[in-house]
């Protein structure tokens, strides 16, 4: 049994949350630059140029890249031989959110009750915490600050086995079509196939965290990611949905066994900012 101080994990979370609002993750920055160089549509190239310029301003003046600094999602992989000590992990992570959003002048975008009062909690807490128990004695924390322009364009579709791969592709491409004007393209697409309704949604969300350039471990799914990526970028929707070659920066699929009667599909749309980070303890 290994003891890990939750305050160490929370300190990492606070530090990363303070940085994520101001600079693109490295893979996103590289991908946007490549897209800018290869884009053939003049208007699209201008927009990509503004997005790159925007990061320069955000970094140099500490003004967030986007005013929607997101709702914080944590994925915690907890080794079953770990004993977390010195506090409640959810409490200390939420405190990290409160502190970083206050100290770094980030927008507090969370309302307490979702339906009736919709009153701002004023500190961007609570976060959404997903815990997965894994073998071993280490802890991995993945952090995402999710903006809702793209989140609102996401969906879960309960397909049937007969819908098959064509049904999956059709639902994904229709989601991309609807998202194109609104989701701050170029987009990141996280896709969950299989499991149950909520498992598919969790996989789709987690897939958004994958580093650009990595692919699904199984070749046929890696091929499907590549095919979707190419089809989507041939669609011509382009940055902001205003036309161009650059519609999507990455397609990442996660999969899980499912029921004989079902083919759950979840599609989580991420914007080009796609703020994420990871730490291992």
């Amino acid at each position: 049994m290994r003891e890990i101080d939750v305050r160490i994990i929370a300190a990492f979370a606070k530090q990363e949350l303070g940085k994520l609002a101001f600079e693109y993750p490295k893979d996103i920055a590289k991908s946007l630059k490549e897209a800018y160089l290869s884009e053939r549509d003049a208007g699209a190239k201008d927009i990509l140029g503004v997005l790159i310029e925007n990061e320069g301003i955000a970094c140099s003046r500490s003004i967030p890249l986007c005013q929607d600094t997101g709702m914080v999602v944590f994925f915690l992989k907890l080794g079953q031989d770990v004993h977390l000590v010195h506090g409640d992990i959810k409490d200390v992570l939420d405190q990290a959110v409160k502190d970083s959003y206050q100290e770094k002048y980030l927008r507090k975008s969370v309302v307490g009750d979702p339906l009736f009062e919709r009153k701002n909690t004023l500190d961007n807490a609570p976060s959404v915490l997903h815990v997965e128990l894994v073998p071993g004695e280490s802890v991995e924390l993945e952090i995402m600050t999710k903006g809702f322009g793209s989140e609102n364009m996401s969906r879960v579709v309960m397909l049937t086995p007969a819908d098959g791969i064509e049904g999956v592709k059709k639902a994904i491409l229709e989601t991309v079509r609807i998202a194109a004007p609104n989701a701050c393209l170029p987009m990141i697409l996280g896709i969950g196939i299989g499991g149950t309704m909520e498992k598919a949604a969790l996989m789709a969300k987690h897939a958004c965290l994958r580093t650009i350039g990595e692919s699904h471990p199984e070749e046929r799914y890696a091929d499907l990611e590549k095919e979707l990526f190419e089809t989507i970028n041939r669609s011509g929707y382009g940055p902001q949905g205003l036309g161009g070659d650059t519609t999507c920066l990455n397609v990442a699929i996660e999969t899980y066994p499912t029921h004989i009667a079902g083919l759950p599909l979840a599609i989580n749309v991420g914007c080009h900012v796609s703020r994420h980070s990871k730490g291992v303890f």
């Binding site: 997005l51 003046r61 967030p64 005013q67 927008r107 004007p181 949905g241 914007c271």
Partner: protein, 180 residues
Amino acid sequence: MRRFTLPLSEEDRTSLVCGENILLSGVLYTARDAAHQRLVRAIDLQEILPIELKDAVIYYAGPSPTAPGEVIGSIGPTTAGRMDSFMPKMVEAGLRVTIGKGARNLSAKEAMKKAGAVYLGAIGGAGARYATCVKSVSIVAYEDLQSEAIRRLEVVDFPVTVIIDATGKDRYGDFVMAGG
């Protein structure tokens, strides 16, 4: 690129062409979801509105907090489609110019076309870039709504694209969202 001073005259507004990139200088008012609910409730109750909609340019935006030494925080556009259901009443009350990101639905477009209103697009995600155009900011209403309060912004050379012009021509074409 044509430059315009706000408020836009009717002549300027009707001269805008779908797809054109322009620069705006003058006053914008921010309003998003929660402020629209209050504005439309005030319209329904025939109350006096906190801003005169006739000459106003409404920017669908809610900034991040202002850091010391800055005029404003990050201030990019939010999704205009979420304000579509308010649009017929807002246009009827005099609103003619809105700025946001994304496509508008059919009922919003019909209301805009009837009145010759225009919808201008800013780049979603470029909030730091737009902050550099803002020269002053003050809260004019609904301060309790925090980032969603109505703010008066003075901007210089704020870049936008004409998405829907006064004739109803839409840069997003016949795009229809699920459920209209």
